[in-house]
Symmetry: C2
Subunit: 424 residues, 2 copies
């Protein structure tokens, strides 16, 4: 835990640095996996399930029976919770559907954009320590709303060849009909090339370990799009003297428990709040089952005292956090100053968990400083916007000379001629 009181601006660039992730070393492994999957299709997936996930399965397709069984296993309490989250996520993302607006830029020249869903999309859900059915909600609901025709899901089986029932239940609830038992780089390769069972898709979404991240990177060589580049999850909290240390500590820990590489930054304008939050952390961490992860993550975290909320926001914009919590009074006054962040949580009752699960916003967000140049996942991520134009004869007459002059100045005479021949 690193504490910095009023650090000089000169050292801020050091403080906002992310841990360096080395990817080169695994490129060869990824290339080999991709080539195996391309050549041997389903059989490669079955072999790699055995090799990496220690799972012996004959069929990588999840059967209807397995999905039905999952429905029976999930408690009605969890079903209701998933239902409320689904409704909120649907409400928020449905509000992102845009209306067609036709613009007459010159008399007789009408231009507009229309959305078309990306036809085939793939969702990757990691196995590992937490069954991320919430990520299924975030991605599958949005793909459905966008109108994607084919939505498939890949996730690694456990040692017995099974998928976590909450993942299966949520997937079917969100209309995902094709679910495959395959994980890691091989799942990304399967969605990139297609196999006998797994359809090839045009865009791949979802989180994963370093192999999955590297594989999504690699997949782009084969013209597949991905949701965004990835890095470890992050939170930055800005707390003034009205913040509640108990809440701040709980939010920091909810980030820190994700993994030992999670990034946590706490900035306060008030020394008492800073100290009390650190004390609270020490108290709360003891109660956590994942406290080993959390402790490792906290070891690399920064606790920073700054002079003002404005200064704190300047720091935050330089860091560009995935999650930004403003535990301050009058947060309304500071919203316009937020330049770089994935998702922002305002006030003492807006905990990050709300956005992670159920408030309605998407939790697939840019990390690792990518909030400077990328948005989180939204309905936009599942559509392409196609421009349309219709020029009447009058429209071309009004615009023709301009096009001719510009085309000629660029030396593109055939471009000019396409107009001249029509104006003759």
């Amino acid at each position: 835990m690193k504490i910095n009181k009023y650090p000089q601006k000169e050292i801020w660039p050091e403080l906002v640095k992310r841990p360096i992730i080395k990817r080169e070393e695994i490129t060869e492994i990824i290339a080999e996996i991709f080539s195996k999957v391309k050549e041997n299709g389903d059989q490669a997936l079955i072999d790699l399930n055995k090799k990496f996930d220690k799972a012996e399965i004959k069929n990588i397709n999840v059967s209807e029976e397995e999905i039905d069984n999952a429905k029976g296993v999930i408690s009605s309490e969890l079903k209701n919770a998933i239902q409320q989250a689904k409704e909120n996520i649907t409400k928020f993302h449905a509000s992102q559907i845009t209306k067609i607006e036709k613009i007459e830029t010159t008399k007789g020249v009408i231009c507009w954009r229309e959305n078309r869903a990306i036809e085939k999309v793939g969702i990757y859900i990691p196995g590992g320590t937490a069954p991320l059915f919430s990520t299924v909600l975030m991605l599958a609901i949005t793909a459905q709303l966008a109108g994607c025709k084919e939505i498939i899901l890949c996730t690694p089986p456990d040692k017995n060849g099974n998928i976590n029932p909450a993942i299966l239940y949520t997937a079917q609830l969100c209309g995902v009909k094709k679910i495959f038992k395959t994980g890691g780089a091989q799942a990304i390769a399967a969605m990139t090339f297609g196999t006998e069972s797994v359809p090839k898709v045009y865009k791949i979404f979802g989180p994963g370990n370093q192999f999955v991240v590297a594989a999504k990177d690699f997949a782009q060589k084969y013209n597949v799009a991905i949701d965004m580049p990835a890095g470890p999850s992050e939170v930055l909290i800005i707390a003034d003297e009205k913040a509640i240390p108990e809440y701040c500590a709980a939010d920091l820990l909810s980030q820190a428990e994700h993994g030992s590489d999670s990034q946590v930054i706490f900035i306060s304008t008030d020394l008492r709040i800073l100290n009390e939050t650190i004390e609270e952390l020490k108290k709360q961490i003891k109660e956590l089952p994942r406290n080993e992860f959390a402790q490792q993550s906290l070891n690399n975290s920064h606790f920073i005292l700054l002079n003002s909320v404005d200064e704190a926001l300047e720091f935050s914009n330089l860091y560009a956090p995935e999650h930004l919590i403003l535990a301050i009074e009058n947060f309304e006054n500071y919203i316009d100053k937020i330049q770089n962040a994935g998702s922002v949580f305002l006030g003492n009752y807006s905990c990050e968990s709300a956005g992670d699960y159920a408030s309605g916003t998407n939790h697939t967000l840019p990390t690792n400083g990518f909030a400077k140049n990328y948005s989180g996942v939204s309905l936009d991520s599942f559509v392409k916007k196609i421009t349309f134009q219709n020029l009447s004869q009058e429209g071309l007459q009004n615009l023709g000379k301009t096009i001719e002059i510009m085309a000629e100045a660029e030396g593109l005479l055939a471009h000019k001629n396409a107009v001249s021949i029509r104006l003759k």
Copy 2:
């Protein structure tokens, strides 16, 4: 010129194939250029200008004097044309600015999105055979509208160390104040790392040759975003019996003149129109100064006869053209069937040149089949959308149980605790 009459659907995948672009071979060259620019900054750019562009220049910054001189050289006719294009492009892209819409997903839970401009963006404008000041309009106007604070432009100097005045004039007209004489992979490297003169940017836009394309790809390793992956320019025309062969031929040539790798596909439902368009092509190509490019491009082009406009659109959706021209009657009836395309031109007076220059739509569009999973450049390309949420105490009470149950089911107890501690 390849003519296919009623090709079986089985061979369509062959017909929609793009030429394969090999990138691996130049990766080493790119890596070396990046490392030189990272180490030696401006001096590397000056050295590489000499090496690749045969230009000896002392200062890579374009001076105010040079910009003033450019203003004097441009004819008032061209200035007026650029002005009309600027107004239309501004009108269309300004219509893409979205209003903030706050959604109450659950009582007391308010969620919304706000746009923030990407702070620092770089525009690359190639040198070569055509001075693409139209691309300056497309990218600089949109960056300005989005509110990007720093907009820089890199373009290679000619042998005398000068930049085409139309590019300089257009850049300053669109508010670009920092223009640098550097091209190719070294320009992309300069915008990625920054040099003494060239500021580092967060996202790079613009077309270029294979070295520029590969360099933009490479830049992403250093967390820079790019507009989109690239390939040679393309048009697909669908013409029914009411199409005008003269116009169709002119549109095909306006695509073919871009370069020998330009892709041209002409589909008709009417044999007479197909034959007459081919005859017209032979006639019109003779008049073109760039007819060598055009002829090479046409040699690889496809002329296809199909049974119906529906079938033609099915083919087009499989091909996913950058530009799609519907030279058909009643095009309104077919718009909903267009699934994959960059920009669509409707009816006999909507020539591609209109969109290339002045109608208002953006001409930076997905090629090479990327219209299946990417949009063209728009205002969205220059902003990030940040999600915000504010939960009142009541809001968290209404949503808290759902979050607790879901977090617990994912095994993330600190996530649960962030809610429980607030509800106590």
